[in-house]
């Protein structure tokens, strides 16, 4: 719409500055939880420090005088569920979960899919889940899979103050009740991680890997409904950046370790399988070389997600033999 030059529509820059400042103040006060959460979700650095050092005191004040209430009401109106909470097992649980031994001699059995009753699969995780979900649909035998994709972009397991996957997993399975879950996540987990005793571990520390494995075990237990359904966990593939690559290798080991504790958890190894475990922008898929990775050197492209989807289907076929054959 072309703005009119009508004088009735103008005001001095000083008044406009007043409007901007009041609007930002209102937004910060009534949205203080979201402000802090946004800060928690930022990459470590100056911007994050500034946002949190401004946001936290505002949030304390706003919480104390009940300014969260209007936003809570709006969240309710828009059907938004809270994805953070304090005291969850993800943040405060013990390593005991990793010591549970799965009974390897017992083969779990699940109801097999048929065209009349296709397998309802929830594909979730971070942004990597999007193309994997799409490709799982067209790589599966026709009519046997119903895929629902719910990617939570920018999330991971290391920062539950920003997004708590234990809570989200509870909400997702309660709302969708899938037969099986594919979890593709890890690209946003290059941060330090804090265990329940307050120890802070950097990626690469053995403590980081143990704590990450524990969190995988917690979330996969919830997703599996305590063994009711299988969970196919897909940590990130090799990355172009060697630093990311080391973190992703550690995550893959952690997921593998968690499978020893959670009977319904399956590890899908795209890390060492695709291209022999070596990073490449391109891959050969069905005789055709395609760009397999997005410019960030981590995410799959739509074409590049095909081999990953096939690996997931191969893992699923162990539980659902009807899915074999492609």
């Amino acid at each position: 719409m072309e703005p009119s030059r009508d004088r009735r529509l103008t005001e001095p820059a000083g008044r406009v500055l007043g409007v901007i400042l009041i609007a930002l103040a209102i937004a910060a006060l009534f949205n203080s939880e979201a402000l802090v959460r946004a800060g928690e979700g930022m990459q470590p650095g100056t911007t994050r420090d500034i946002v949190l050092s401004v946001g936290r005191p505002i949030d304390d004040v706003a919480g104390a005088i009940g300014l969260h209430l209007p936003r809570d009401g709006l969240d309710l109106a828009f059907g938004q569920e809270k994805k953070t909470a304090s005291g969850t097992e993800l943040e405060t649980g013990s390593n005991a979960i990793l010591r549970r031994n799965r009974r390897k001699d017992t083969q779990q059995s699940f109801v097999q899919p048929t065209p009349q009753r296709p397998l309802h699969v929830l594909v979730t995780g971070d942004s990597q889940a999007d193309f994997i979900g799409q490709r799982l649909v067209d790589q599966s035998p026709p009519g046997l899979l119903e895929v629902e994709t719910a990617a939570r972009n920018g999330t991971g397991l290391t920062n539950p103050a920003f997004f708590n996957w234990e809570i989200n997993a509870q909400q997702e399975v309660a709302a969708r009740d899938p037969d099986a879950v594919v979890m593709a996540i890890g690209g946003n987990d290059g941060f330090n991680i804090q265990s329940r005793d307050g120890s802070l571990y950097a990626p690469g520390d053995p403590g980081w890997e143990t704590e990450f494995a524990r969190r995988v075990a917690v979330v996969s237990s919830v997703l599996s409904g305590n063994g009711k359904r299988p969970v196919y966990w897909v940590p990130p593939p090799t990355a172009r950046d060697p630093d990311f690559n080391r973190i992703f290798a550690s995550q893959n080991r952690a997921v593998k370790r968690a499978t020893q504790a959670v009977p319904a958890l399956r590890y899908v190894d795209v890390y060492s399988t695709l291209n022999g475990g070596h990073y490449s922008d391109s891959l050969k898929v069905d005789g055709r070389r395609v760009l397999a990775r997005q410019p960030d050197g981590i995410h799959f492209t739509r074409d590049g997600a095909v081999p990953a989807a096939r690996l997931i289907l191969a893992a699923m076929a162990e539980d659902y033999p009807a899915l074999r054959g492609r």
Partner: protein, 466 residues
Amino acid sequence: MSFPTIEFAAFFAVVFVVSWSLMPHPRAWRPFILAASYFFYGWVDWRWVLILMASTLVNTVAGQVIARSPSQVGRRRALTVAIVFDLALLGVFKYLGFFVSEMDQALDSIGLGSPLPLVQIVLPIGISFFTFQGISYVVDVYRRVTPPASLMDVAILQAFFPHIVAGPIVRANELLPQLRTPRDPRSVLAGPAIFLIVGGLLKKTVIADELARRIVDPVYNDPASHSAGELTLAFYGFAAQIYCDFSGYTDLAIGLALLLGYQLPENFNRPYLALSIRDFWRRWHMTLSRWLRDYLYIPLGGSRGGRLKTYRNLMITMLLGGLWHGASWTFVLWGGIHGTALSVERFTRERFPGFRLPAWVAWLVTFNVVCVAWVFFRAPNLATAFDILGGLGLSGPSPLVTLPLVLLVAAAIAIQAVPREWWLDAEAWLVARPVAVQGLAVGAIIVAADAAVGQQGVAPFIYYQF
């Protein structure tokens, strides 16, 4: 940096104060606004600024050479060099992957192996937009529509942060005269600016992102698992989504520029009220339409070479317009549908000059042709597009079809029918309120918009990828 973020809010508050403080001193204001724009653009990756600077340098030098060259040959050479450079920049970053992939496949099929490196190249955000502005500038200098500008002016023209990422595509003679005249701080067009900013925010968060998340993405990701009713809602839903997403972005861009005292050209004018495809293109992404008309369709010959050549030129223009969005057959088909529709309309107009469809029929046909074309624009491949078009209907269990979603689609179309006078009256009313009331209203809308997107955050604007 994206507009609906905390970082941008802080950035803009600072820029607003400093920009108006320096406004009486153009020698200080210009470097400041350029530095701010480069900071904004380089926030994600500072190397993109180098590419932008290179583009600015080449186009500025070419403009000067064109203006100073005594001979037509020299002028033409400088123009050619600049255009080749601009298109090469676009080609390398946007189309090299597709070209190498196709080439590789062709060579592989005749047993020549895979000799070409297939590497992923980061596409700098906004490269299509600043490249088109660069071409527009040198061609306008060549045509003597605009005088050559200084390096600083061309740099600001290309980099001005409200429009660098996704337009509107601004012509030199629209922005440069404004840059040369200090804006009046006593007379900021705050009414339209505030309405554009909060309106753009609501269009994006409440309509576009909601439709994407709840109906469009699930259906386009897996059409086979959805009923005819859900396919139909997604069919119209994407038309509503892309309008609210792109025009929402443009509203934010124009509104922010207005707060700084600058008017950017209009980019959308109630496109879904169009009564023909020609009318649609006069209302949709208007700055791209006129760019394609002035720098492609007319140089191709326009309508000067007879009927067949006119149809050919229309098709070429629309097909290239489609390819501008990306190297994919889906975009080619999108452009092809529009090119064909424009040609058919032209043929009908010339052959049956007295023929007129009733307005409601014309609207219905136009809107549905546009929606069919959008299916190809949105679908990841042709098969998905045909699956969706083949499955349209009203039957089947449709749990995703809910009254709020239907109302959102209706709202996206209905807001275009609100008379302009009503908006103007509302803007005037708001500006007449005390500052505190205005601030409260804007703040409340920001809170509501944030609640609408929830913890998943605002999705990237669709046109960021182009």
